[in-house]
Amino acid sequence: MKNLKRIFIYTFLSLAAIVSIFPFLWMLVSITNKSVDVTQGRLLPGTHLIENMKTLFATVDIVPALMNSAIIAIISTILTLLFASLAGYGFEIHRSRGKDIVFTVLLLSMMIPFAAIMVPLYRMFGSISETAPLIGIDSLGAVILPTATTAFFIFFFRQNTKMFPKDLVEAGRIDGLSELGVFFRVYMPTMKTTYAAAAIISFMNSWNNYLWPLVILQSPEKRTIPLLISNLGSSYSPDYGVIMSAIVIATLPTALVFFLMQKHFVAGMMGSVKG
């Protein structure tokens, strides 16, 4: 009976693991095969990897797209970490009833579906395009701004700040640090793990963002990676080996960021669940 249960559990988990991993394996194998082999379901590595990469870089503007995505993801992550952590700290350390009410109102913005504000946002950025082209329609700035600080990350930082030893704030003040000084010199270094977790989530979100860039970016040279892949995927005579190569290259940064910082990620998630 007990053995039967064990066998069942391991079979169930193994099946789930195979289902989870299979698309990745297939993707990795496919970048080494010719398009024909991919459609014939070849599951063994081939010798076509270099060929696929050459074709990819020769025919697809993947380098500019990677650059655009990197710029957007890095700037938006830095802004998010700064503004959201300032706010999370401000709400938790400088607590007052007024701020608790404001916090609740800000949290409501998490319930706002993006589709509902997409059109007004588009018109808003359209109206400033003439005066401020750097943050107008078809600019990377317009992609970044709406994600620069969000209620989710403020919530995330506030939850994690609950574990921050508040005596350190007093100690910092007594040592003569200004309020901002305490934040930058005491809080930030202590909360490294939380920052790491938030950085992973923010980087992934903005690297993978699709709908808003699709709406706001128009010229081909401003395209981000998801826009490029979506375009490749909908072409009529797809070269599967090449498309898979593009997908692998697009997935690598987030996968790497995640695996390098996995521990922080899980710790950060736990921090946000607690309390």
Binding site: I9, L13, A16, A17, S20, I21, P23, W26, Q40, G41, L86, A87, G90, F91, I93, R95, S96, V102, L106, S109, M111, P113, F114, A115, A116, I117, M118, V119, P120, L121, R123, M124, L145, T149, A151, P165, D167, E170, A171, E179, M204, W207, N208, Y210, L211, L214, P226, I229, S230, G233, S234, Y240, I247, A255, Q262, V266, M269, M270, V273, K274
Partner: protein
């Protein structure tokens, strides 16, 4: 909890308390400074979330092509109920929601309970494997799923080779199968994500409760429903609300797997809003009306979920 870690001996508290006048102005100053910490976020969220919400509401009473809009009262709202494309999009999105969210949450709960068992071998491997789909971008995995489930895709090859089917199924051209593929895709991508929340929450559950239950003769299933589920209730509520909001807004997968087809069999509300604004002759007013349907659904479903979670106490 972690306050114990600080070295109290290092802080000379009485010094600060001596000068009460200075302390008072200090406290007053600090209260003001507290607002400075949050002011940027308040402004940004107001500009990029709340203000557009109000704008969208006003837009929902206007109509016209592109920038030439005029107030038309409730015309857009009336148009909704006679619009077959909207009805299709609403139906599809509801189907995704009703099947996908419960399926995913139950699966994630099962995985987390199984993977929380310290005696389980290869625990780390299973965890990473099941979480792995979360590192992919929605567009990238959608394109992969599109190829996996194509007529000459690997799923068909596999089913044919094992004699499960005798003829390739055109998954993406069939109104029912296409929906199934989309539901499978979202479940594949997000189950591990929800699992992490449950795993994190399970760490906080006191092990002795399970021991006591075992002593009383409760089996694994009874323990699951009578201890685990009630203990995780706040997190289950949190994940079901976020998943509901997420699935109500589904866009990337539908666009990249089926592009709403065949016919409008997989079209989601978000894709319809996008089409109304940027694909067809742009009608921002009507698009905003449709978008408010998602807002209303989010509010209603969240209230229901709060109620259900509250009543089971």
């Amino acid at each position: 909890m972690s306050q114990q870690k600080t070295k109290r001996g290092e802080i000379d508290l009485p010094v600060r308390l001596k000068d009460s006048k200075r302390q008072k102005t200090g406290v007053y100053f600090r209260k003001k400074v507290g607002w400075l910490f949050i002011i940027v976020s308040i402004i940004a969220i107001t500009i990029f979330n709340f203000y557009p919400m109000v704008q969208a509401f006003l837009l929902s009473f206007q109509s016209g092509m592109g920038a030439n809009l005029e107030y038309v009262g409730f015309d857009n709202w009336r148009r909704l109920f006679g619009d077959p494309t909207f009805i299709a999009a609403l139906t599809n999105t509801s189907i995704y929601l009703l099947i996908q969210v419960p399926l995913m949450i139950v699966l994630a709960l099962f995985f987390s309970v199984l993977l929380n068992d310290p005696n389980l071998k290869f625990r780390g491997f299973f965890r990473i494997a099941i979480f792995l789909p979360c590192v992919t971008s929605l567009v990238a995995y959608s394109v992969i799923f599109k190829y996996l489930f194509g007529v000459d895709g690997i799923i068909n090859l596999f089913l044919l080779n094992f004699g499960i089917i005798s003829e390739a199924i055109n998954f993406l051209a069939d109104p029912v199968w296409a929906k199934v593929v989309i539901i499978l895709a979202i479940t594949w991508r997000w189950t591990g994500y929800n699992m992490i929340f449950y795993l994190a929450a399970l760490q906080n559950v006191d092990k002795s409760i399970y021991e006591a239950a075992r002593m009383d003769g409760a089996n694994a299933i009874q323990q699951f429903f009578q201890i685990t589920v009630p203990m995780l209730k706040p997190i289950i509520l949190f994940t079901s609300i976020t998943s509901t909001i997420g699935t109500l807004q589904i866009f990337d997968e539908v666009v990249n797997i089926t592009n709403g087809g065949p016919g409008n069999a997989t079209l989601s509300i978000s894709q319809y809003i996008y089409n109304l604004s940027f694909e067809y002759t742009p009608d921002f007013g009507y698009a905003s009306t449709v978008s408010y349907v998602i807002v209303i659904l989010v509010i209603i479903l969240s209230i229901i979920q709060f109620r259900v979670a509250g009543e089971k106490k």
